[in-house]
Symmetry: C2
Subunit: 248 residues, 2 copies
DNA sequence: AATATTGGTTGACGTGGATCAATGGGGGAT
DNA sequence: ATCCCCCATTGATCCACGTCAACCAATATT
């Protein structure tokens, strides 16, 4: 899933500037002109590497920065006192992490790397400062937050109104679409999360996820080999979601 | 649930200024100084009345404003093509509606009044403009959006990891807390939504909601008379959520 | 006041997904 | 390269919640 920069590495080592980043089309600076891009180049203070299974931040940590994923992928989750975990999302390159922290100035969930990853650290104070000056940054940031809200509503729909196989179908189509946006195959990809994490995200037990995968395989909708997925009949998956046989 | 303005009505009819509004402590201008309040008085262009069962906006409507609830209450929902409805939230006075629209410049859900209500219309372009000038407005707006994200994660936890009675307990405690914040009784309140709407929000069928209410009543946790609710043992309700007997 | 309509409660029964359990593989660690 | 533990799969059984249905209460309509 690692993306390599297509621009030449500059002399002074690793440049952290957004203007030099090939993820610009997926990330916060989406749609900005070169001029605007130059103005926000100071936004990313540093990069930070996070090893697989390590936390980028934990619930309760003081909030002072948001993060853009430069390479790798993450999950976010919330924990109940009794140990129950709810995965609230999976994030890939170009997506933002940490928006939950603005509300109370401390993070409300955990962010864990699903593989060795790297993020751009965006000091929140600097983001507010710059987005008062750069209109396009302000608007783009608002869009990112709003998109997160819309995405969450979609997950609620999944969790509240869909059956197990519908949930998994929606999940797979969503992953496929996001891989496509990153220039990878829509039909063939590698999941970085376990069946248990998928299950937690979809409100299902890992056995149910596994069985749904097997069923999709039997019916020729997808090819499943552990974490390697091949979408064989995307149309049938879409159909499954909208035309569920059971009235709910 | 109707709140009356405690400030005198000004001569020139209905003043829409935030500085004149008694909901300032719950709403977007929370925590602002008088100076700042005066600067954002132009934010609210108009008020709009919405009758019970009517839409404030629908999914697909072009987005140009967000709304602050002045009086009354709303639900937001998303519909699947096959007719399934997922209620994504219930909103009361001082809370914001329409944030979902920023992302694509068109609304992604429906907002329906649960009773005759009134909202303040905040032109989004003006909000962006003013929040470039007024730092506290900028920050407060970001907090409002972030809070929505955190709330949504809480709902995912509900839907993905909790049992029916836990969900209802969490819902009741949440309602109680929000009524308290508005100066109403924490122990006794009137729900404006039907069992079916509660069920949709909690990912349950209306019969299951009804049975859970009855069970809480039997056990002396709450008094239930249709939509009128009395919380009799809040501690027991809290306990129910964190210490579920079933390991999930 | 009479009637229609919508919303809520309760019972009987069915089922989708959880739980419990056993068995194999793959990939990370060293 | 090898080991071992985590992860995935699959089967058998169970149960929480959904479904179907009847009935009643509350509120709106005339």
């Amino acid at each position: 899933m690692e993306l390599k920069a297509t621009v030449p590495i500059t002399m002074n080592g690793l440049k952290t500037a957004c203007s030099q980043c090939n993820l610009v089309e997926l990330c916060l600076p989406f749609g900005m002109s070169d001029d605007e891009l130059n103005r926000i180049d100071e936004l990313v203070g540093a990069r930070r590497k996070v090893k697989r299974q390590q936390n980028l931040y934990r619930a309760g940590d003081p909030f002072d920065a948001i993060y853009a994923i430069r390479a790798g992928s993450f999950k976010t989750d919330v924990l109940l006192e009794d140990g129950r975990e709810q995965v609230t999302g999976f994030q890939m390159t170009g997506e933002m992490l940490g928006l939950d922290g603005i509300s109370t100035a401390s993070h409300s969930c955990n962010a864990v790397a699903l593989e060795d990853s790297e993020v751009c650290v965006i000091a929140y104070s600097k983001l507010e400062e710059l987005s008062r000056e750069v209109e396009s940054l302000q608007h783009q940031f608002h869009k990112v937050m709003s998109r997160e809200i819309v995405r969450d509503h979609g997950v609620m729909m999944l969790l509240g109104s869909m059956r197990a196989e519908e949930r998994l179908a929606a999940f797979l189509l969503n992953m496929s679409q996001r891989f496509t946006a990153r220039g990878f195959s829509a039909a063939e990809f590698h999941l970085r999360m376990t069946r248990e994490e998928i299950g937690s995200y979809l409100g299902l037990k890992l056995e149910t996820v596994s069985r749904a995968f097997s069923r999709f395989q039997e019916e020729g909708l997808v090819g499943v080999q552990q974490k390697h997925i091949r979408i064989l009949d995307a149309a049938a998956l879409k159909n499954l979601i909208q035309h569920s046989h059971v009235a709910r």
